[in-house]
């Protein structure tokens, strides 16, 4: 009996490991190259160029391979100004055509440029002659979806397989019993399982206790996580990439969230702030077009709030940003790396309190504290303490945040 169970587990384990391995082996190699070039294009070219979607800052790169060879493109991409200065006709006319806007030098190696060149070639072929506005990124999402799909189908197949195998084992067992002349085991599967439980009481008890503890722990965890929305990353009405704006472009957070050092709310930028740049840059990109249509239709953009604090919490951004000098990332995580904004920290009361316990206030720098907290000033001078935390000045009291 025991042997049979072991056998069953073994089979299952093998299949399980196989299942885990399967997704990794399912990607072909040439696809990896396309993705690589895609990423390169996105990172380096996409800000100013499109393939078949019209002029942004620089020319539309559709059918670039028919206009210029790879040999021409290599030095041009590395340093466009050098090529222009060398008096290349095509380069000079291109420069004039686009109002003397320089194409910045790209630090890419030959292989990478080749990959991009080929990528443009490939993508150009995909764009129909009457290039309309397509939904970019759609293909990629589909590929991801199909990966999940394979996994689910596989699991289903394996489950069926294990049931079938189990049945085969029991049939074989029955045959063996018949052959040995033993009476048929008339017990049902459930009955057998019950016997097994009755025979192994201590193990069952321990298992139940462990199960209970584990269950309760999970339950409490789940309950306490209710409404916290940790890692919440909803789909936004406009697919705004923070990684591009805050990461690559290094735009200061407070350029858009201008209330952060003035107000309780950091503020979501109004459309006119977006327009400071996007009245020139990437005007035709579909996501930016959403911005234009919002302005045209006089309909404000309804962003989904990611960092929701409960109503009974008073939080003031300017207190933390301006007075405390806290980095935005401390609570919001590495926003400059986020493609889709997500709630990086749980931002629970524990999170706040911990920080208030550990963070030093600008005790000696800010004249507000000068004639207050004599004892703390004394301790600081005598090196009894090396910093004054928010908690030391009452920063963990109820009505600092709840009123």
């Amino acid at each position: 009996m025991g042997k049979m169970i072991t056998c069953f587990f073994k089979t299952f384990l093998i299949f399980f490991i196989l299942t885990l391995l399967f997704p990794f082996s399912s990607f072909s190699e040439d696809k990896a190259l396309v993705i690589d070039a895609n990423a390169l294009f996105k990172a380096n070219c996409k800000t100013c160029h499109t393939i078949g979607k019209g002029v942004v800052v620089g020319p539309d790169l559709k059918d670039f391979h028919t206009r210029q060879t790879l040999e021409w493109a290599l030095p041009w991409i590395r340093s466009s100004q050098t090529v222009i200065r060398s008096g290349d006709d095509y380069a000079v006319s291109l420069y004039k055509e686009y109002n003397d806007v320089e194409m910045p030098d790209q630090t890419l190696n030959d292989d990478e440029i080749t990959a991009i060149y080929n990528y443009i070639k490939e993508e150009s072929a995909k764009v129909p002659a009457t290039a309309g506005v397509g939904l970019e990124g759609e293909g990629l999402t589909k590929a991801d979806d199909s990966g999940d799909m394979y996994l689910i189908i596989l699991i289903v197949i394996l489950l069926i397989l294990s049931v079938v195998l189990n049945k085969v084992v029991s049939t074989l067992n029955a045959l063996v019993r018949e052959k040995q002349g033993l009476s048929q085991d008339t017990r049902t599967d459930v009955g057998k399982f019950q016997d097994l439980l009755i025979q192994n009481k201590p193990i069952v008890t321990i298992a139940v206790i462990i199960g209970l503890i584990f269950g309760m722990r999970e339950g409490i965890q789940a309950l306490s996580n209710l409404g916290i929305q940790h890692k919440y990353a909803p789909e936004q009405p406009i697919n705004f990439p923070h990684d591009k704006h805050a990461g690559e472009m290094k735009i200061d957070c407070k350029y858009c969230h201008s209330g952060a050092d003035k107000s309780k709310n950091a503020g979501i930028p109004s459309a006119n702030v977006c327009m400071n740049c996007h009245s020139v840059i990437k005007k035709d990109a579909p996501e930016i077009q959403k911005l234009y249509s919002a302005i045209k239709n006089n309909q404000p953009i309804q962003w989904i709030k990611v960092h929701n604090l409960p109503d009974h919490v008073y939080f003031n951004h300017s207190q933390h940003v301006k007075v405390g000098g806290i980095e935005c990332q401390k609570c919001h995580g590495p926003v400059e790396e986020m493609k889709v904004i997500e709630k990086h920290e749980a931002i629970t009361m524990g999170f706040c309190i911990n920080c208030h316990r550990e963070t030093a206030v600008k005790f000696t720098e800010n004249a507000y504290y000068d004639d207050k907290f004599e004892e703390l000033h004394e301790d600081l001078k005598n090196k009894k303490i090396d910093m004054v935390t928010v908690k030391d000045i009452g920063g963990t009291e109820c009505q600092k945040c709840h009123y």
Binding site: S263, N272, D311, H312, V323, N366, K372, C398
Partner: protein, 1021 residues
Amino acid sequence: MKKPKKYWKGLEELNKDSDFEKDKHKEFPNFLPFEKGILEENGVSRDRRDFLKMFGFGVAAVSLASCEMPVQKAIPYLNKPEEITPGVANWYASSYSEGGDYCSILVKTREGRPIKIEGNELSNITRGGVSSRVHASILGLYDIDRLKNPLKAGAESSWEEVDEEIIAKLSAIKEKEGNIIILTSTIISPSTKRVISDFIENYPTAKHITYDPVSYSGIINANEKCFEKPIVPSYNFDKANVILSFGADFLGTWLSPIEFTKQYVKNRRPENGSMSRHIQFETNLTITGAKADVRVPIKPSQIGIAVLNLYNHIAKSTGAAAVSVDKFELAGNLIENTAKELLKNKGKSLVISGSNDAAIQEVINSINELLGNYTSTIDLNNPSNQKQGNDGVVATLVKSMNNGDVDGLLMYNVNPVYNYTRPDEFKEGLKKVGLKISFCGKNDETASFADYNCPEDHYLESWNDAEPKKGYFSICQPTIRTLFNTRPAQESLLKWSGNNQKYYDYIRKYWRENLFTQQNKYLSFKTFWNKCIHDGVFELNHEPSQSNEFKGDVESASNSIKGNYSISNSTLELVLYEKVAIGNGNEANNPWLQEVPDPISKATWDNYVGISPRLAKELDLKQEDVVSVSAEGVSSIELPILVQPGQAYKTVAIALGYGRTKAGRTADGVGKNAYPFATVIDGNVQCFNKNVQLSKLDGTYPLAQTQTHHTYLGRPIIKETTLEEYKNDSKAGNLDREVVKKNLVTLYDKFEPKGHHWAMVIDLNACTGCNACVVSCGAENNVPVVGKNEVKLRREMHWLRIDRYYSSSADDDHVPEEDNPEVTFQPMLCQHCDNAPCENVCPVAATNHSSEGINQMAYNRCIGTRYCANNCPYKVRRFNWFDYAATDGFPYNEKDLWPGEKDDWGMLEDLPRMALNPDVIVRGRGVMEKCSFCIQRIQAGKLDAKKEQRNIKDGEVKSACQQSCPANAIVFGDLLDPESEVSKLYKNDRMYHVLEELHVLPSVGYLTKVKNKNKDDNKDV
């Protein structure tokens, strides 16, 4: 030995009423399940099984509710206005003006929503003071009963249609030279007056008539007779050493109470070494009478005679001709002694009368003239514009309307169908008017008779200006885009006069042409205009007051008085008065105002028949008995009895402003309309009736009075002394404090404040009990309205209440103590004790002490045991028995337990919730709440200081109650700053803590009340 003074909150306490005795020791008089009685009455029963069901449902509902995480949206501006930063308040200077009531204000707006009104300290009229009505006007903006579109014959229409038809009809009237009347309340806006004169230029047959429901035309007529100036003068209470008032409630409702309170308290500080002496003759107990050093209850029919007697005493000493009148003397030769005091302070005294009888006012003028008060305490050269109504003209208008002589009637901010003395006459006349146009923002009693309703904006939505007093100009600017399809009345009038200008441009033009030219500080109009908008006020140099020749005829006036008044009138008299919060009833549809307890009777949500205890005994009437009040020519009304100490014997008092029928869902059906009981003398409407009858009806009507809620049961709470004693010893009245302080022992560690130690001092001598702070606190802290039924059950939610104590000298046996008690007001709020008894008993530490000395309340931690409230010696904690503010989605939590009874005051709708302060949480059911010392303001003040890297300045952080107080009675600040105002007051000899012997170490101090009383004053009355 002198027996100690006895203090009592109500007659039930004084008489040891059994109901009162039963519940007096209980913080919460009713026990769970408190719904039982109510539910059984409604045929619903609940048992143990229901409890289990509800418990199960509760657990399931709570888990379900918390599973669902609604998607919250953040919707930014599409094109953000430069001056708005979400989360930062914008302040705009503006002016409140409502039928002549005026206040210069600052409006706090958040993300474009006005949420709070505060006083403008740049105004030399209101000087930063605000009244309860001004505070509550913010809720009037979000009144759900406002008209949303112009109406034509009661049906919604468009401005184009309405304009076209009105212009056609007006032109037709003009062609046939018919009469057009513009009937308005007092207009203090010079631009509006110009608009009206433009209109009259266009329609030459048009005439402007001013109508005030509570009119001052007696004063205007008297000044016309005496000085050939038909005006209401301005008064300087701060310059008067002796103030004598005959029934003028100048601290509460008379003329310009905020201005007068500011002036009055200036001269009531004993620290200055002297105090004005204030003597008040009045029928019903008002807050002015309560503040008076000597108060004399007098029948309205006696006032004329008393005035004449006073005149004779003064005339005798000044050599003027006396008039013949029956000698009327009160105990202790009061009138004669008062005359002596007045004569001693010639030129530094002030005699006023609240009467609307021109003859009485003429005699008053003559008394002031004899005392040399013109040019010092009374100023005829800088008149007040706040009341301009003329009763005589209005009466003529009503007559000609009934004769069918009026073809067009334009009604702006008037409601005569409700508040005219003869409403039926007006109604009948109205039917005969060809074209009736109303500008009222609501379809009220009068507007509903109009052919066209052209709703005007709320004052917070529109431009306007004001000149409440000659030379004192004020701007009113919009703080929000119009919520509905409304338009300023002025713009309507301009349009109909063929001028398509915006009213804003019109005002600018008026100011450019008339005011810009009168100053030389600013060279360009733009800078001048911007400065005026910024400051909210523009004040010209005060014109020096000159003496005016007195041309009055006291002899003929005295004859008129003798015909109308007598010493001994045997009939029952009725006096009509305005309540401090409700006023003339124009803004009655405001739940904040309805719920604020009357400062004297402490009743909410009703008017009633105030009757003197002596008369009540004689007529065998008890509190809440329903009586029918009738008088000749008036249909009777049924009202409950309220036994009111201090009410003159053989008189009753009924408040005006109630009994609205078309004001909206809050005010409709609350109380009864008493306007028809007013009588007319010499063409002027008098707020009294010399002959009314009371007849007791079956049954009682419950009143929601808060007076005996939260009582202290004879513990010494109030300390007071007299000026004389104070001069001898500045610790007078407060001597026991030394003893108390010596005997204090404690088991607890001494509290050491860190950073700040917030504290408050309240001057009992200054507080007039006007309730401005209560409404201000409610607006600032999102204090919910609970409604009459809940108030009755002692569940009012006000964080700050004003306790009114009656007191009587126990050694004075010959006067029944309830006939004319002294009155003391004591604002009571959380005392933020440093040894707080509430903190020790909270099982979940939801209430605890901050390092800055604030007794903090964490609502989200509170589980509602109410132990804290039971343990609070000051009884200042409030429990949310229901979800009064509708913060959650369970209808049962809201107050729908009393089907059929009036509870729908419209506060749970979306619109009024726009007035909520976004910086303060809205509390839900089952939590305790209380005064937080305006923690949000403290935190904001600290943050500003930290951002600017500087220390916080004294006076920078003001609590909402302090900010609004017209009497400057409340001072708030940091005790750790030795230079702060509050630290200095803590060292004042008058300072004491309430129940200091308990050693709870309160952070709120009170200053002993000092009365400017003579030794024998008590025996006078």
